[in-house]
Amino acid sequence: MPSKTRRKTRQTTSSRRRSGRRPRRAGGSGRLIRRLLILMVVLATAYVGWLDLHVRAQFEGRRWAVPARLYARPVELYPGMRFDSAALEHELRAAGYQRTAAPSRAATYVREGNQFRVHTRRFQFWDGEHAARRVGIQFRNGRVRGLTAEGKKQALVRLDPAIIGRIYPNHHEDRVLVRLEEVPRGLVAALLSVEDRDFEHHHGVSPRAIARAMWANLRAGAVVQGGSTLTQQLAKGYFLSTDRTWWRKLNDAAIALILEAHYDKADLLEAYVNEVYLGQDGRRSIHGFGLAAHFYFGRDLEALRLPEMAMLVAVVRGPSYSNPRRHPDRATKRRNMVLDQMQALGIITQARAKQGKATPLGVIKARRGTSRYPAFVDLVRRQLRRDYRDEDLRGEGLRIFTTLDLRAQRMAEAALQNRITLLERERTSAGKKSKTPLEGAILVTAPQSGEVLAVVGGRRQGEAGFNRALDAVRPVGSLIKPAIYLAALERPRQYTLASPLMDKPVTIRGASGNLWRPKNYDDTAHGRTSLYEALVKSYNLATVRLGMEVGLDEVTESLQRLGIERPLKPYPSLLLGAAELSPVEVTQMYQTLAGGGFRVPVRAIREMTSARGEPLSRYPLSVQQAFEPGPVFLVVEAMRGVMAEGTGRSARARLGAGLITAGKTGTTDGLRDSWFAGFSEDILAVVWLGHDDNTPAGFSGSKGALQVWIDMMKSLGPRSLKAQTPGGVAWAWTDLQRGLTTEIECPGAVRFPYLRGSEPRRGHCGGLRAGTKPARPG
């Protein structure tokens, strides 16, 4: 028996020391045996000593901590702001506000149609504490009409933000660690009654339990009970191997004794409650009752009812065997057994046990993670890991204020899900059903500040897993083109928007001698065109010619200045977007364009305070000028043309001509990927659609990703891009066909911006078709 052996060893050692007797000199073999015995004892002692250190180090290392809280961005309301009552109600509910008849307590609100009376909480923001107060908000026609606080009119009201998740920044996986005080009494009682009745009394190993188990197993003729204590079960997890040899059992017993020697029962129980293996979710193991409560029931541990707690305890003995989702009958049987045992020990009444046994299991469908926004939380984690050391994040209960906009997130998720469903249905009815589901990703940011408003990692809402927004690295196709045109337009003596380009077949000889003959999307050469038109209509041939003229190194440099950090190979195919980037990298690139040439890092975190509210650190708004505003303005002007008359023109039809936006569609070879990147004054969004296994999506950027973007923008109601001509840029009426500036009255002439001094030479009206209307609003 393991315990006896241990004690024997110890006794032998100490008794030898105590007696002080010198071993009698016996024959040679006797001496050898004694020497071996001494050696074994020494080794055993050394081993136990090492084990002692190792176990203690591990135990200390696994101590619980209060998780950090992640907050969404606080809603800031002002009169005239575009926001509606439904959106406000969503925010209030997300922040845990209750709807009542009279807002007497903090965190309640009254809603009468478009009128709200909100009793806000006292809240510690990074920049100070806001007292609780009564706020009145009135909406009309989708905007905030009236705003008061304590009866007085307000110019601005900031509501306290919703909690969107709790994380342990130093752990890579979700954990829900609980303090022993937070564990319901019922659960502890159930656990001890079933798994370790003598927990309070034994010293790590319980001979009584072992005897009991032996007796029960003999009677049953099979192994129905185990004799190991909770401490022994805890010890099981201290080495990675899962083999159940007698040597391992010996080890576990030794560890159990060591644990009991160093730590008290409360510590051990708490460790157990957080360590016990309770299930599997794909590659993720579910450890601890806190996480298991979320995994099986979708609720906090404290919110569980008795039969649910009993089920968790039932699962301890065999998480796979008693998997409530795969084997509900076994799980139920075992759960009922737990309830019976509790009743037998007098912990619950017979009535309660009966009631408990009659309840269904109540296990929810597997929902991953503990946050409703796993893709966004993923980004937050990465930024924390990138920018902070472990020590900075170890503080308990850190309060991290993020940039998440709940409304934008909701609209983005809905747009992606609905449009993907629609596209798949269209393909199926056209007889082209694909084996793998169509997937997508969206990133939404604020164009000037770089704050991330929403991250959608896949078509299924709230599902943790492959985060396509951050990790799906795909060829970007025509999304690369603005970088080429930007490089060109930085050379005003050679290129302006009106400069002629030839959209004619071109053959490029690669370094290895092979020939590349790119084609246009419609397989047609369009002949003489202008820089502007070639970008607006996304002509491949003209773009490749331009790119080769400007130089691949210049184009690569332009991409780097735009914010692409990934090394890019300066091959000609780069010009048509053979480069592979993730949606977040594309977002960074377009952020710089929307920022007028000023690079601003895409960020998900605003600031951090301690648990008590002391400000700790802040991500300030930081910009870096990467380009002169002039050339960027010209490229963005062309990107506006994309939305008005080019490949993105369905935006105009669906969003209305009054909403000015800028963007670029992207389609890759064989219609594999469908991309769109575009922005209004207050929203920038990048959308990708495709299949994870790289089979063709089957539609272009315009047909797929752009439509998702439009759907989302429609629901968000963005502000129009304003024409802010930077210094050094002048407008001139231009006949694009001939590449000449003309008088205002010439039909067919359109205003274009130029870097001052680079305007093409003047021409007369002659040669233009009479009655030609300007192509775009002046």
Partner: protein, 216 residues
């Protein structure tokens, strides 16, 4: 990288010097700024609307010529904004009107922004430049294309001791206005001061000359 520290001691001296310099150069005091008509461009732009704004008391902390709190045009701000920022679209007629110049009056029409500016001002006066910067960022979230807000943020960062950022933000402010001369001058002066402090005499001189050019 997130900012963990509050201003270094050396920035205090620099702050005094720069404020003095800029005070001297800009003609000092809470001034009435009139916008001039912009220089003609090839398309032939009409003269800008004249607009004036008046600095209110308490703007000293931001630098004497920088008007921190500005009263909105018209009735002093109690009326709701007659036009919401961003709600106007590009005129669609085919007439020869040039693209409208930056309407700073829009910013001043938004009481929320005015309120945040006032808060930022108080915070700055109390020496809490990090908080002032955070408040200004909230204002920028409401009006991202308001060049003056970016300028104030540059000033706040300057006071925090973040010189590079101060210069970058001033450049960003400049990129958002083609025609607001006083603002451009302020920005160039700020940049010049930063470069001088960083020991880049060449860049400082270049910035100074840009400022001087705008004065003409």
């Amino acid at each position: 990288m997130p900012a963990n520290t509050i201003p270094a001691g050396r920035s205090l001296a620099f702050l005094l010097v720069s404020v003095l310099v800029m005070d001297a150069c800009a003609g000092g005091g809470s001034a009435r700024h009139n916008t001039d008509s912009s220089s003609a461009s090839a398309g032939g732009q009409p003269a800008e609307m004249r607009r004036t704004y008046v600095a209110t008391a308490g703007s000293e902390a931001m630098g004497s010529e920088w008007t921190a709190t500005v009263r909105p045009l018209g009735d002093g701000g109690s009326a709701p904004p007659r036009e919401l920022p961003g709600s106007e679209s590009i005129p669609s007629s085919s007439d020869a009107a040039a693209p409208r110049p930056i309407q700073l009056s829009q910013a001043q029409n938004n009481p929320a922004v005015a309120s945040l500016l006032s808060t930022a001002n108080s915070q700055s006066q109390a020496g809490d430049h990090a908080r002032a910067a955070a408040t200004l960022e909230r204002a920028i979230a409401i009006e991202p294309n308001n060049a003056w807000l970016w300028h104030y943020l540059a000033a706040a960062r300057l006071r925090e001791g973040r010189l590079d950022q101060a210069a970058s933000l001033a450049a960003k402010s400049n990129s958002l206005t083609a025609t607001d001369r006083p603002l451009q001058i302020n920005n160039w002066k700020l940049i010049a001061a930063v470069r001088r402090h960083q020991g880049d005499a060449g860049a400082a001189a270049a910035a100074e000359s840009r400022a001087a050019a705008r004065l003409k």
